[in-house]
């Protein structure tokens, strides 16, 4: 890595600190705006709790303290990267997140790779045959998939592949209580991953296919493509070697920006497929007003999103050497 890039990365990492802390402060304010607290929820869930019991919970959770005191304690902890204890589950938030994060990352990365590979390939194919039935088929299909709600698509895939054909499991991440070899486990998880990753990936594949098509058409109109054609290069070489690299930039930008969106989208997919990831945890934390857990997940997600955006900036330089990091 060149010296300029290293300095760029270090400077960007240093800039992250105030950004992430500002996000943390905003999250706290937003979470506190919601009516009701974890003591009410837990007492309500348990049914027939006395008022004294609810107040005892509130004291245990520190929710009886003045809001400024709660905020300062929270910011102090966050600055030390201490995410605290989940109010409802009474376990360290970091442990709860560490339990779920790998599953979500596996699902997200698989879906993203699938989406980019499929989207780029289809986008290029459509652009190369602009106006033909191939282009129309790809464009209309992409529009249809884009307009289909992900949870419905997921249920339909379950009905078809799991119930009708009995090919794939309907949910979960692995077979439970069955002794397997290491390879067996990997294959088992892969089998369980196919439907949720496909459901999540298809939506983004449709987005990327449309974007890639437009971007390729734009590049096709540039002079260097005319030059390449005049040199007698084959259409395949022009598309995959010359045009693709230039046309990829918007897709990379969008993919980077959508990581946060993808985290949000995984809530629905994880729900439909019973995938043991972060998505469901964040939903439960929100509904149960589990402030520490909710803020912890938001904090970790904001770090992931900010880091991915940094990575995207670095990929720019790789795709287009004219872009330098200063």
């Amino acid at each position: 890595m060149r010296g300029g890039t290293v300095r760029f990365v270090l400077r960007r990492l240093a800039q992250l600190v105030p950004v992430v802390l500002a996000i943390a402060a905003l999250n706290f304010a937003l979470a506190k705006l919601a009516p009701g607290d974890a003591a009410d929820i837990l007492a309500g869930q348990m049914g027939h709790a006395t008022l004294e019991f609810t107040e005892q919970l509130r004291r245990e959770f520190g929710l009886d303290l003045p809001i400024l005191e709660q905020f300062l304690a929270y910011m102090g902890r966050t600055a030390r990267l201490d995410l605290g204890i989940s109010l409802i589950q009474q376990q360290p938030v970091a442990e709860l997140i560490a339990d779920r994060l790998p599953a979500t990352l596996l699902l997200m990365v698989t879906a993203l790779v699938l989406a980019i590979a499929t989207g780029v390939a289809l986008g290029v194919a459509a652009a190369r045959r602009q106006g033909t039935w191939v282009d129309n088929l790809i464009s209309v299909s992409a529009l249809l998939v884009y307009a289909t709600p992900a949870f419905w698509l997921g249920l339909m895939l379950i009905v078809f592949f799991s119930i009708r054909l009995d090919l794939l499991p309907s949910g979960g991440m692995m077979r439970i209580g069955v002794a397997q070899t290491a390879l067996g486990q990997v294959l088992d998880v892969a089998r369980h991953l196919i439907l949720p990753a496909a459901t999540l990936g298809l939506f983004y594949a449709a987005v990327y296919a449309r974007l890639m098509r437009a971007s390729m058409l734009e590049v096709y109109g540039l002079d260097f493509i005319t030059t390449a054609r005049a040199k007698g290069l084959s259409e395949g070489t022009i598309a995959w070697t010359h045009a693709l690299r230039n046309a990829l930039l918007p897709v990379v930008t969008l993919a980077g920006m959508q990581v946060g969106h993808l985290l949000g989208g995984s809530v629905l997919i994880e729900t439909v497929f019973g995938w043991p990831g972060l998505g469901r945890l964040v939903f439960d934390a929100l509904v149960q007003r589990d402030l520490n857990l909710l803020l912890g997940i938001l904090f970790v997600s904001s770090i992931v999103v900010v880091l991915v955006n940094l990575a995207v900036d670095l990929v720019y330089g790789f795709l287009d050497p004219r872009i330098t990091h200063k």
Binding site: H48, A49, Q91, F151
Partner: protein, 532 residues
């Protein structure tokens, strides 16, 4: 034939079969997989008594007694016998010898005293209701426990259910946890050590829990099952698919959406039943703010009650998964429900006449007055029910606006702000109406911030006195008379509009046997459940 009658016939057949056949008919081994969502947050009901925790913890922990039938007849459990003093102020339990914890250490009377005094009474949400009258717990020897009471508690022998009064090992808590009172966050909440038929083998958060047979269990030859597995499936439709495919054997406690429960219950391989909840007594009503006109007027509340077709509500909104309510006590309670009571009347003409007579004339638009309704944020059926109620009340000239809130917002508005007109609500009778019914209607429980309390501001001195009398009278005909009076008063005053005995539907694959044993069947330890 309805699902209910089929399932009841099936349950009776199962019980009869269990009694008639020799033990050899019950197969040993195999795994029972059930599904529920949300997933448990702990493995002990001291952390929370929420349904998912009660389901799993009741297989791991036991209490002094076990229970039989819908009337919850006490049977020996960790206590092999008990005696009650003549004045009903001393209960002496003889503990079973040779019982070991999952870690192999012996169970003694010190564990019982510690659990009830230090853990259950202060930290279980109903601990003070159960044991608030206990003045002392004595342990004359390692296998005897004496509870001394300040005044008689008629339901005392129903207190010892596994999910309500779990006996926990004193050695399972660290000295620091005990000293600092950190019971809810104690390590044992996540890594349980009980005396029950099953012990924790694996808990993969967000995915599954595996319980395996406790080889040293004190009941010879039990449990029949090798494993009980919980699969966490967050989506209702996906849970139904898992049951239909046979990937999961059981969806307890209304884990399936009502429409799916009704559909699957008709399949030949599957049973849907609402039996086995009598000890919980779930009931649903419209909670009504009695503070201001027009709802402070009893005639208005009676008119609202008359305007709602409960049978249609049950059949259309809830797909037949329940029955119209007759009052505050569920009809499945064999001890305290007044059998003479009929479901509340549906009569739109009478409702209109009542409102006319009370002086609420219709305006030009046909509207007498406007009300705002909230609903429990428990899922789409509750939204559809709110729409149904709105339509029913429109027929008698009451215009209703519906407001949606999530659980945190709902609890705050109803129980802290008291800022509502009416809302759907769902609560339990629990093993005794003094525990479950009294708290909603007694005027001493009009307390701002107390969830599921008397949010209505309903105060009736005569009723208060009857509740006190019922709490101090030994169970029997005299006490039942008091409960009959209470039911009559509440049916007339209608501080809430009793809607429906909503019950819980359990859906299971017919390869599973012996699930329904008592009034809290899903919170029982399943040591006699077996699979084909």
């Amino acid at each position: 034939m309805t699902i209910r009658t089929v399932s009841r016939a099936f349950a009776i057949a199962v019980i009869a079969l269990g009694a008639a056949l020799p033990a050899a008919a019950q197969k040993k081994g195999g795994t029972l997989t059930y599904t529920f969502h949300p997933e448990p947050t702990a493995m002990s009901t001291i952390s929370t008594t929420a349904v998912p925790v009660s389901l799993v913890a009741s297989k791991i922990y036991e209490s002094l007694l076990e229970y039989e039938g819908p009337g919850m007849k006490p049977l020996p459990g960790l206590a092999e016998s008990w005696t009650v003093s003549k004045d009903n102020l001393a209960y002496t339990f003889k503990l079973r010898k040779g019982v070991t914890w999952h870690d192999g250490k012996p169970f003694t009377s010190a564990d019982v005293k510690f659990s009830i005094e230090k853990v259950v009474t202060p930290f279980h949400s109903r601990g003070k209701t159960y044991f608030g009258q206990v003045s002392a717990i004595e342990t004359p020897d390692a296998h005897t426990v004496v509870f001394r009471l300040k005044s008689p508690v008629p339901y005392f022998l129903r207190d010892f259910q596994a999910s309500e009064s779990p006996i926990m090992p004193m050695h399972g808590f660290t000295a620091d946890e005990i000293k600092e009172g950190k019971f809810r966050s104690a390590k044992i909440m996540q890594a349980p050590v009980g005396t029950g038929p099953f012990k924790l083998k694996e808990w993969k958060k967000g995915s599954h829990v595996i319980l395996e047979r406790h080889p040293g269990y004190w009941k010879a030859g039990k449990p029949y099952l090798d494993q009980v597995v919980l699969r966490v499936i967050p989506d209702g439709a996906a849970r139904a698919i898992a049951i239909e495919k046979g990937e999961v054997d059981l969806a307890p406690m209304s884990a399936l959406p009502p429409a799916e429960a009704q559909r699957l219950g008709k399949l030949p391989a599957i049973t849907a039943s609402q039996d086995g909840n009598e000890g919980l007594g779930p009931i649903m009503w419209l909670e009504v703010n009695n503070r201001s006109k027009p709802l402070a007027d009893v005639a208005v509340r009676q008119a609202i009650s008359l305007a709602i077709d409960r049978k249609r509500l049950v059949d259309v909104i809830w797909y037949g998964q329940g029955k119209p309510a007759s009052g505050p006590i569920v009809s499945g309670n064999p001890n305290h429900f007044d059998r003479k009571l009929k479901p509340l009347e549906y009569n739109v003409d009478k409702a209109n006449k009542l409102l006319d007579a009370a002086g609420y004339k219709r305006g030009k638009d046909g509207v007498r007055f406007k009300l705002t309704q909230n609903f429990l944020p428990y899922g789409e059926e509750w939204v559809r029910q709110a729409e149904f109620i709105k339509q029913e009340l429109r027929k008698v000239g009451i215009a209703v606006e519906t407001q949606s809130l999530d659980m945190g917002g709902w609890l705050k508005r109803i129980y802290t702000d008291w800022n509502y007109d009416f809302t759907s609500n769902f609560t339990h009778n629990y093993p005794d109406p003094t525990i479950g019914v009294q708290r909603a209607f007694i005027s001493t429980n009009i307390k701002r911030g107390a969830t599921f309390s008397n949010s209505m501001d309903y105060a009736n001195e005569k009723l208060d006195a009857l509740f006190v009398k019922a709490a101090q009278t030994a169970d029997g005909p005299a006490r039942n008379k008091v409960w009959e009076e209470i039911q009559a008063i509440l049916r007339n005053d209608l501080p809430v509009i009793f809607l429906m005995e909503i019950s819980y539907t359990h859906v299971w694959n017919k390869r599973v046997h012996g699930l329904i044993t008592n009034g809290v069947s899903m919170y029982s330890n399943w040591d006699s459940v077996w699979v084909d």
